[in-house]
Symmetry: D2
Subunit: 166 residues, 4 copies
């Protein structure tokens, strides 16, 4: 379909949707802030959680970030409901290691803050940290995208902080 | 959910799904081959459509390619049915220029054959060519991902051919 | 080498170096602004060159952008002087179509403003426009990176403008 | 400069250059294989170093891989000799955390084997492993690109193995 005359990007609705959906997965901004703190406290001595939460909120106002998050969250939901076409349904449901689209969306989020953000995401994706472990072990739930999304938001903020303090 | 013991990536099913879905959008391998030929005939004098179709078929056997295509096709379908959460539903439905996830999946496909593939995709995304124009003008249908997917497959094959003949 | 205690990223020097080097290649901000205008005037009716130059200047203050530009400009210069190791020297000197590192640095610049920026770069890389044509035809000079850099800056600004007006 | 009539990409010279330069940094294929084994032995029970070396050799025959490696190795060398323009010279010399071009080239290498390769690289970039630690601590030497290159080759091979066994 062609874009409707007068369509405006729904910035506020997108931001609120993302915050609400993260919360419904048990992910608060403080959980993400803890991951960032864990990654950065060695490099930024006086780093405060309040400051990190502020930066997360900034990142969550970027459209590119919101679009990738909303898409990933919807794909998890659709797979949870079992309404995705086969064989994609079983690939997402099984969080198949060679799927890669979850990482692709996450990398795009992290890359907004440069290639250093991407490295941070890659590390978090393997090492897992804090709430990411809980999400990864949340059996019975399709959490294929959500853990990468959380890691990507944290990685983006790490990238942003690195630039701010260099 | 954690990967089930014994889960095997469904290569054949994925390939067949993609071919069938492309066909249901009126996209045959010959349509994609024509886009490639249009891009490359100046550089590769004796380029034949049969050879291009063979290369497209090769590209369509790569899992990273299949995964990104399947995901994009499903998102178009879900938006067509109106089952995507708001506000993502209206963003995809309107093919909003600032959505970008359609380009992200396409770029990931094209990049499998290197950064030259990405440039080719970018060109096709703007210039549109052959079947891509029809898809873009197909009013009443959500074709947000499909035109980028077609462009990305063509771009990937262009990248592959460029390497083969350099 | 490990980072020296007290090393500070040289923001101002990097910005001034890039402006000076672009000028020494005959590239002014107005030349880049013309490329942007050509890409965007259809979508943004009252777009003014002054506004575009302001946005280019903003983009040229981003470290990720500066780092990729400086690296590309240096590689062109080193190949011009003939001091690059073989066979990389002849690959850059010939602007080999399968080199791809010029596109990789450019894509990284464009991607700071999202995947839409990358598409814009890909288009400009193929279609060439304005000063990019002159650079590409500047015989006797190694201009392998500079034309992609100019295209990437323009593409980044297009991405930025697209977000600002959507 | 425009590509000379009859220029052929020097595949063999590029491969031999890369192997020789890696060796001159004390990096053998076995060192890279050990990093891969460390990452993958949990997932691929009967993984043998000989098989990994074979895969590394395969990866080192891809032009996109060779081009990014040669470019990074040359930049390290030029900075070691002190012949890079300022301020880029001091940015590379100090391995400044916000430079990012080293990661960009590495990510492009890793991404040839999909987004899973990129995650693996990000992990190795932070966690460092085996020879990467030695390179990182090799004081007096500019090793800004080489450690990322080693990590990227290892990550690419991990990505390739993951696909082969899924």
């Amino acid at each position: 379909m062609v874009m409707q005359e007068g369509f405006k990007y729904p910035d506020t609705k997108a931001y609120e949707y993302v915050k609400r959906e993260l919360r419904s997965h048990g992910v608060g901004l403080t959980d993400i802030a803890k991951i960032v703190w864990e990654m950065e406290y060695k490099y930024i001595p006086d780093l405060e959680v309040g400051k990190i939460i502020e930066e997360i909120d900034n990142v969550l106002h970027k459209r590119e970030v919101l679009n990738n998050i909303m898409t990933g969250l919807f794909l998890d939901k659709a797979a949870q409901r079992g309404v995705v076409d086969y064989p994609l349904q079983e690939i997402i449901e099984n969080d198949a290691g060679v799927y890669g689209v979850d990482e692709t969306l996450a990398i795009q989020i992290a890359n907004i803050y440069g290639s250093v953000g991407v490295s941070n995401f890659g590390y978090l994706d393997k090492a897992k940290s804090g709430i990411m472990i809980d999400l990864d072990n949340d059996n019975g739930k399709v959490n294929t995208f959500i853990d990468d999304i959380v890691g990507a938001i944290a990685a983006a903020v790490c990238g942003k902080l690195a630039h701010a303090t260099a």
